[in-house]
Symmetry: none
Subunit: 199 residues, 4 copies
DNA sequence: GATGAATGAGTATTCATTCAT
DNA sequence: TATGAATGAATACTCATTCAT
C-alpha cells in the first residue's frame, strides 16, 4: 500500500523538506544521481531515511524537486541582472555581465546541469520538467528584452540560442581545460557572437 | 587474483572485443550507462558474461572504448565532408551540410553524447579521455580549415565554439520540442552565426 | 520507557478502542494481516497512528481483539438461531438454517477465518486464544443441544466435527469454484452428513 | 531490466533449484511465509541470495513451487495407498488407513497447509494454483474409487467433502488440543462419517 | 580462451513503534 | 489523551565481478 506523501504546510516541515532537497542537490551535483544513495541524502539533511519517504514518493521524486531549485539557482542571478536594466539597453555590457554570472553559477553549481540533463533521456517526467523549466526561462528573458526595446520576429529563437551558447561556454570555461584554447580569446568571440544576436 | 586482461592479437578476438564495444555503445545510447548491465552487453554482443572481463577490466573500461567509437561515429561524417572540399571554400554551403550531418548523427546516435558527457563528472579518466578526443577533433578540423585557406589567429577557439553550437542545436532539434520555437528560423540563425565565425 | 496501555473506562475511549478493532477486523479480512499496516488501521478507525499504541501494546495485540469480535460475528447468528429453537428440535431444518447463516457469514466476513487461523502457527498466544474461543462456542452449542434434548455421550465431538464441516463447506461454497463440483448436490450431502451426526 | 530466469536443465542446477524449494518449504512450514526472508531460504539451501533470483522471479515464485511439492508430499501417500487396493474395496479399512496417513502427513508437514491456503486470499495466482492442484487430486481419487467399483452420481462431491473432513480432523488432531474432546471418540465419528459417504 | 552459474555486497523502500508537541 | 512527524531496523532484489568447468 502506497505511503501517504505529506505536503508539508508547517514551517518546520517545509524546512525539513527543503533540507532534503538541498542535500540531494549537493550530492547529485558532487557525485551524480546514481552514485548518491538515499541514506546519504538523509544523513546530509540531518534526518532519518524513513522520513525522506514521508516527503517524497521515491528517489526520483527528489530529483524532480532538485531540478526546480537548480533552475532557480541557475537563472535567478541572470534574471535579476536584467531586472536592474533600464532602456536604452547596453547589449555589450549586458552580455559581459551575463557571462560573468553564468561562470559564477557554474562554479557554484558544479556538475548539476549535465547530471540532471542526462537523466532526461531515461525519464520522461524529468525530461518534461526540464523542458518546461527551460521554456519559462526563455520566455521570461525574451519578454524582458522586448520590454527593453530589443525586438526581433525571432526573439525566442535568439534567446534560446544565446542561452545554449552561454551554457556551453560557461561549462567549457569552468570544467574543460583544452590546452590549445585561449579562454580569454574564446570569451571575446562568444561575446561578439551574442551581441550579434541582439543588434 | 586479478584476471589478466588480454590485448587481443588474434583477428577473432579483436572482432569479439569490437562486438562488445558496439553492444555497449548501442545500449548506453539507448538507455544510458546505469540502466545497462553487463549481462545485457554480453547478450547483445553474442558472448558470455565471463569473457567480457577477459577483454575489459570492468564496466567502466568498456565505457572508455565506447567513447572512442562514439567520437569516430560522431565526427567522421563531418570530417569526410571536409575532406571532399576544395578551395575556395564555400562556407555557407559547408555550414549547411555540417548541420545536416550533425542532425543525422544525433538521430542515429540518440542520447549517447550526454550519456557519456555526464559521466565525466564522476570519473576523471572518462573526463580526460573525453577532452582528449574533443581536442583531436578540434585540431583536425582547424587544420583542414587552415589548409583550405580559412585562417584566423583564433581558429581553434572558433572551431571549438562552432562545434559547441552545432552540438547544442542538433540536440535541441532532435530531442527537445519547445512549442514556441520555430526550428526552421532557429536553424537559419545558427547558420548565420556559424558563417560569421569563419568569414 | 514502555508506554502505559490504557484499559479505557470512559465511554468515549471504549468507543475509540472499538473503532480500532473494527478497522483491524475489516482490513485483516479484506487483505490479510501482513498486508495491513497500522497507519491504515488508524486511518480507517479515524484516529491517529499514535493513539493506537495507547490502546494496544502492538499490532499483534489488535489481532487478539479482532479474534474476539470475529468469533462473535461468526457464531452469534448461529447461536441466536438456536436460542429461538424449542423442543422438539427439527434437526434437518436447523441444519439447513445453520448452513444458510454460515454461508452468509462467510460472504460478509470474507477471508478472516483463514487469515486469522494461519497466524496461529507463528504465534502461541493467537493459537491459545483461537482454541479457547472455539472451545467456548463448542460447549455453548453442545449445551443448547443437550437442553433441547439432543444428547450423545460424544456430543462435544459431534458438535466440533459439525462445526468443522460447516466451516469447510461454507468456505468452499463462497471462495473456491471447482468446476466439476455441483455445489447444490454437495450441500445436500453436507446436510445429510450433519443430520446423521445428531440423530 | 528483468533478470533472465534459468530453467535448469543440468542435473546440478535442478538439484540446486530443488534445494531452494525445499528450504522454502521447510521455512514457510515452520514460521510462515512472511516470517521467512530470502536470506534465510538461501542460507538453508546452502546457496547465495543472488542465485535464488536466478531460479525464481521473486519470493512469491518460490511459494508457487513450494505449493507443488506440498501437494505431492501431502497426497502421494494417500494416492499410493489407493493404488495398492484391489476390488472389492474394504471402505472401512481404507478410511482408517487414510486417516493414519493424513495424520502422519500433518505431523511431518506441520503448518504448511494453512500457511499456504491463507495466501490464496491475497494472491490470485496462488489461489488458482491451489484450486488446480486440489482439482487434480480430487479427480484422481474419484477416478480410482470408480475403478474400484465405488460409484455415485455425486462421487466428486463426496470425495471433495471427504478430503475436507480428513484435512480438518487431521489438523485438529495434530495441532489443536481441546481439553473437552476425546480424540479417539472423535476419530471414530470421522470414520463413520467417511464410510457413510461411500456406501 | 570461453561459458554461464554463482557470489554477496549494496540499495531503495516499508512499517511497527516512539516521541515532541 | 491525542496527534502525526520521525525513527531506523529490516528486507526483497540487482548486478558487477569471479570461478569451476
Amino acid at each position: 500500500m502506497a505511503q501517504e506523501i505529506r505536503e508539508p504546510k508547517q514551517e518546520r516541515s517545509i524546512e525539513k523538506k527543503n533540507k532534503i532537497v538541498q542535500a540531494g542537490y549537493e550530492l547529485f551535483s558532487e557525485v551524480g544521481y546514481y552514485a548518491t544513495n538515499t541514506a546519504q541524502i538523509a544523513k546530509r539533511a540531518g534526518v532519518s531515511t524513513g522520513i525522506v519517504y514521508g516527503y517524497f514518493k521515491d528517489k526520483r521524486d527528489i530529483l524532480l524537486d532538485v531540478l526546480s531549485i537548480y533552475v532557480d539557482n541557475a537563472f535567478d542571478p541572470i534574471l535579476s541582472l536584467m531586472d536592474g536594466m533600464t532602456a536604452p539597453l547596453q547589449i555589450r555590457k549586458l552580455v559581459g555581465d551575463v557571462l560573468d554570472k553564468a561562470i559564477a553559477i557554474h562554479e557554484r553549481n558544479a556538475n548539476i546541469h549535465e547530471a540532471l540533463h542526462s537523466l532526461s533521456h531515461s525519464d520522461e517526467a524529468v525530461n518534461a520538467k526540464f523542458i518546461q523549466l527551460e521554456d519559462s526561462i526563455t520566455l521570461r528573458i525574451a519578454g524582458k528584452l522586448v520590454a527593453l526595446g530589443v525586438n526581433f520576429p525571432t526573439i525566442n529563437e535568439r534567446v534560446h540560442l544565446a542561452m545554449d551558447l552561454v551554457q556551453s561556454f560557461s561549462h567549457e570555461y569552468v570544467f574543460d581545460h583544452h590546452p590549445y584554447i585561449d579562454y580569454g580569446a574564446m570569451r571575446s568571440l562568444v561575446e561578439d557572437t551574442l551581441v550579434a544576436l541582439f543588434v
